[in-house]
């Protein structure tokens, strides 16, 4: 057996939602389990069971090994020597005491009351809170012994208004960060000025015009650049996608982007600070390293598990991550970002004669071809270097290779966020970051 890992994994989650002062969701959950995964003669066996019972770990380990051996019935398969060190260590916990259920309810009600009092004409509000905490104890047959944690929290405030025709429109303010709901500042005092700005955008959106469909010069605000990094080039640089035939497979050491673009999947620190989803040891026990996918426009590295690294003859990078107690590790991103440049967002806007400023996004999707899309929930026209009318919800898309090659300006201020999930047969907690960018891309519209 060339690799064997056993993971005890506890996942705690909170989800609350208040719609117009009504607490419509108020859920807390705990899932704890033991899993084992074995690599035998080129095949994997995986088994998982609830934690707590006597002898569960031994039973799960035996089953995982049996499952791997059973796969031999499919015939011989090449067995790789899986690379990578086996880490030992403990990751410290984030933050202090948790917020009580009462504090959460009271703050949500106060936010709703504030919005309805301060913003006349508002049709509705939604306030949502989520947090989740993963505690993973991993042992590998190679000598790895690690305890790792992912803790993140997010608060969402959605303002729902009406456009000039009476149709509903909405915008969302999100605060997210590492730790629990006690560790991010979603107090009324902190959110009130942000909600004033959001409400201003909502008023502008009442009279929004459709975007013109087609290719345009766009300035992506810093909040969107991380999404671009994740969707556009992050997924195609996951080595399992590369092995499946993503177009990135044949582009290593070739120019794929403007020289202004450096993009990385960072393990745990950037610029001397711990990131929002710090991964020191992945769920195969590999010490986690930074992966620079694009260095000054040139495609350099892919993200790896031990197996994809072995298949491609490259070092394991510590990107094998499992979401839940009964999930096996897959190649996943961690903290993916475009690194900052030297411009301000205002300078980027001033250089656009006819285009769009895109400020907020809903969801995004990637493709093996590097063609990506993400929803745009807030944007404005740019005419003669000045911001004009708000635009209706639209979609941004393009080939990442073409879009990144067209980048002619990169902002200097980084923004990070860690709300939402990356989806890839399992969900995953990730963070994304980046500065404002100016590029050419395709907008949906008439």
């Amino acid at each position: 057996m060339s690799h064997f890992e056993t993971r005890q994994h506890e996942l705690r989650k909170t989800r609350l939602q208040m719609v117009d002062g009504n607490l419509t969701a108020n859920l807390r959950s705990v899932q704890a389990g033991v899993s084992a995964r074995a690599y035998v003669d080129g095949y994997w066996g995986f088994a998982a069971a609830p934690a707590g019972g006597a002898g569960v770990a031994a039973q799960v380990q035996r089953q995982a090994a049996d499952n791997a051996r059973a796969m031999a019935g499919f015939g011989p398969r090449r067995a790789y020597a899986l690379p990578g060190a086996h880490a030992a260590g403990e990751q410290a916990s984030h933050g202090g005491p948790l917020l009580s259920a009462a504090e959460c309810s009271e703050r949500m009600a106060a936010l709703h009351a504030h919005c309805m009092k301060t913003y006349p004409g508002l049709r509705s509000t939604r306030v949502m809170l989520t947090d989740e905490s993963h505690l993973k104890q991993l042992q590998t047959a190679g000598g790895g012994r690690s305890l790792s944690r992912i803790q993140r929290a997010a608060a969402y405030v959605v303002l729902v208004g009406e456009d000039e025709h009476g149709a509903p429109i909405e915008l969302t303010e999100i605060v997210s960060g590492p730790g629990s709901l006690a560790d991010i500042d979603w107090s009324l005092a902190a959110l009130a000025p942000k909600l004033d700005v959001l409400h201003g955008h909502l008023q502008a959106k009442r009279h929004a015009v459709p975007a013109r469909g087609g290719e345009h010069t766009v300035v992506l605000a810093a909040d969107l650049a991380g999404m671009l990094a994740h969707e556009a080039m992050g997924h195609p640089c996951e080595a399992d996608a590369v092995l499946a035939g993503a177009v990135t497979a044949g582009l290593r050491d070739q120019r794929v982007a403007s020289e202004l673009i450096t993009m990385a999947d960072l393990a745990h620190h950037f610029d001397g600070r711990e990131l929002m989803c710090p991964v020191y040891v992945d769920d195969e026990g590999t010490p986690a390293d930074d992966v620079t996918m694009i260095e000054r426009g040139v495609l350099r590295q892919f993200m790896h598990s031990r197996e994809t690294a072995a298949r491609l003859g490259l070092p394991a990078s510590g990107n094998a991550r499992a979401y839940g107690p009964d999930d096996e590790p897959l190649v996943r991103m961690r903290n993916t970002a475009i690194l900052p440049g030297s411009s301000t967002q205002d300078e980027l806007v001033a250089g656009v004669d006819d285009g769009y400023l895109l400020l907020d996004t809903s969801n995004g999707q990637a493709d093996s071809t590097t063609e990506f899309m993400f929803g745009i929930s807030l944007g404005y026209e740019i005419k003669g270097g000045k911001i004009g009318r708000a635009i209706r919800d639209t979609t941004l898309s393009g080939s990442a290779l073409k879009v990144l090659q067209s980048v002619d300006g990169v902002g200097r201020e980084m923004k990070w966020s860690c709300n939402g999930y990356c989806g890839k047969s399992q969900p995953m907690v990730v963070s994304v970051g980046g500065p404002a960018l100016r590029a050419r891309a395709h907008l949906g519209g008439e």
Binding site: L27, Q31, A47, Q59, N67, M71, N363, S377
Partner: protein, 445 residues
């Protein structure tokens, strides 16, 4: 390729488990009552899963998993909270009850909070643990056939992830109102996610899969074989290169996106916050008269039970385009005054039409045959724009090359009204059976 090795097959997922879900649900309900809750709903469940995975066209992993869950919603003085845990021991139950008490006591009072009453059901459906369809050798056979078909008919296809699985969920739900719902629901699943490639050229990825009581013939029924064949014709693509207003012929995967938006509009969230476009439209025509959407709650993997423990009677949600009901939960109904008519989470059939797909395509002067929509959530008013993926151009009734970097925009509510044809063919994924739809008036760019 042979079957799995017999020596270890018999051990798969045979963890000793004496988790009696009916007893656990009863005990949890009693514990909540003792703690002081006036109303409660409890579900105890055990899930077992066997799954064979394919990675990069090769069998790669055999998984077996067992999980336990205790889920409860409880109400005290009109204050509600929910909790879930995997620790089903006495200590785990005590911790869950304490957690619920703390959460509920600090929640706002809401007289709309309530639980189901008087619902009774005992249901055993689909392949159970000892049935032949659940045997890992049956799963292996399904994978073997799938991989053999790929090799023979779609060698350019790269199955990035594929799986054949059997899942069995035993659950018991009890409420303080006397509801007792016991189910043992088994089903098999088969799915493929991947792309086609030749040299350095690749198609977009796509996915097909579904649930069935047995996997024989499932790859064809779920549209997996069709998907693999189509992907090999999508390696070479070209941009549309022009803007126009035209027609789409949406494949079942894209039709599912349309129906998902409609179902969301009919449920709690938009009804409670007032953003639903259909709050006052029951009894009115909201879609093309060609559209009839019926429940199929006895489909593989489906249960005729709502999330809040009501037995869902058969329903025809759209009857010739006419909206027959909204779908609030009990809470949503009490909050909004909308009639409570429970629906289950899955199990729907969009009635096929009489026109063959080929004839529908032949009638399109300018547009696209769309396999997948890649788009953000539509705006609350239904406006959307998205990239059409795994799609082919249609010109003068002829299917042309595969498309790249092509977007459409429109309004989902209007699209439902603008359906001009429904195909005779459909894809039956077990939980849903959906045809192709022709819809006009979309903006291409």
């Amino acid at each position: 390729m042979s079957d799995l090795q017999d020596s270890t097959v018999a051990d798969a997922v045979d963890y000793a488990s004496d988790y009696a879900v009916e007893q656990a649900a009863e005990q949890a309900l009693q514990a909540l009552r003792r703690r002081g809750f006036q109303h409660a709903q409890v579900t105890a469940s055990e899930s077992r899963r066997r799954e064979l995975n394919v990675a990069h066209n090769e069998p790669s992993l055999l998984r077996s998993s067992l999980s336990h869950k205790l889920a409860a919603t409880a109400i005290v003085d009109g204050r509600r909270a929910s909790a879930e845990g995997s620790d089903v021991s006495a200590d785990g139950l005590a911790a869950l009850v304490d957690q619920l008490w703390d959460s509920a006591r600090s929640s706002p009072q809401d007289e709309a909070n309530a639980v189901s009453a008087g619902q009774r059901l005992q249901l055993v459906q689909g392949p159970q643990a000892d049935d032949a369809q659940a045997d890992p050798r049956a799963l292996a056979e399904a994978l073997r056939e799938l991989l053999a078909w790929r090799s023979a008919h779609a060698p350019a296809m790269m199955i990035e992830e594929g799986q054949a699985a059997h899942a069995l969920v035993r659950s018991a739900t009890r409420t303080s109102g006397g509801s007792a719902i016991d189910c043992s629901l088994g089903c098999c699943g088969l799915s493929v996610f991947g792309l086609a490639r030749e040299g350095g050229r690749t198609s977009s990825f796509n996915y097909a899969g579904g649930s069935a009581h047995a996997l024989a013939g499932a790859a064809e029924a779920f549209g997996i074989l069709r998907l693999m064949a189509e992907l090999t014709r999508q390696i070479d693509t070209r941009p549309l290169g022009e803007r126009f207003v035209g027609d789409v012929v949406l494949g079942p995967g894209a039709v599912d996106d349309l129906l998902g938006w409609l179902m969301e509009q009919l449920g709690d969230g938009p009804l409670i916050d007032g953003s639903s476009l259909y709050r006052e439209r029951v009894g009115q025509v909201i879609a093309s008269p060609l559209l009839t959407l019926r429940s199929r709650y006895d489909g593989p993997g489906c249960l005729p039970v709502s999330a809040d423990a009501f037995i869902a009677p058969p329903a025809t949600l759209l009857d010739g385009g006419r909206l027959t009901q909204l779908t609030p939960s009990l809470y949503g109904s009490r909050k909004t005054g909308v009639a409570h008519r429970p629906v289950a989470g899955s199990g729907w059939v969009l009635q096929p039409g009489a026109t063959p797909l080929a004839a529908i395509v032949a009638a399109v002067p300018r547009g696209a045959l769309v396999g997948r929509l890649s788009m953000g959530d539509p705006a609350p008013n239904g406006d959307f724009s998205g990239v059409i993926k795994n799609s082919f151009v249609i010109r003068d009734g002829e299917v042309g090359p595969a498309l790249a970097e092509t977007m459409i925009s429109g309004n989902v509510a209007q699209m439902l009204l603008d359906v001009a044809a429904v195909s005779a063919e459909s894809i039956d994924r077990g939980s849903e059976r959906l045809p192709w739809l022709r819809i006009g008036g979309l903006h291409f760019s």
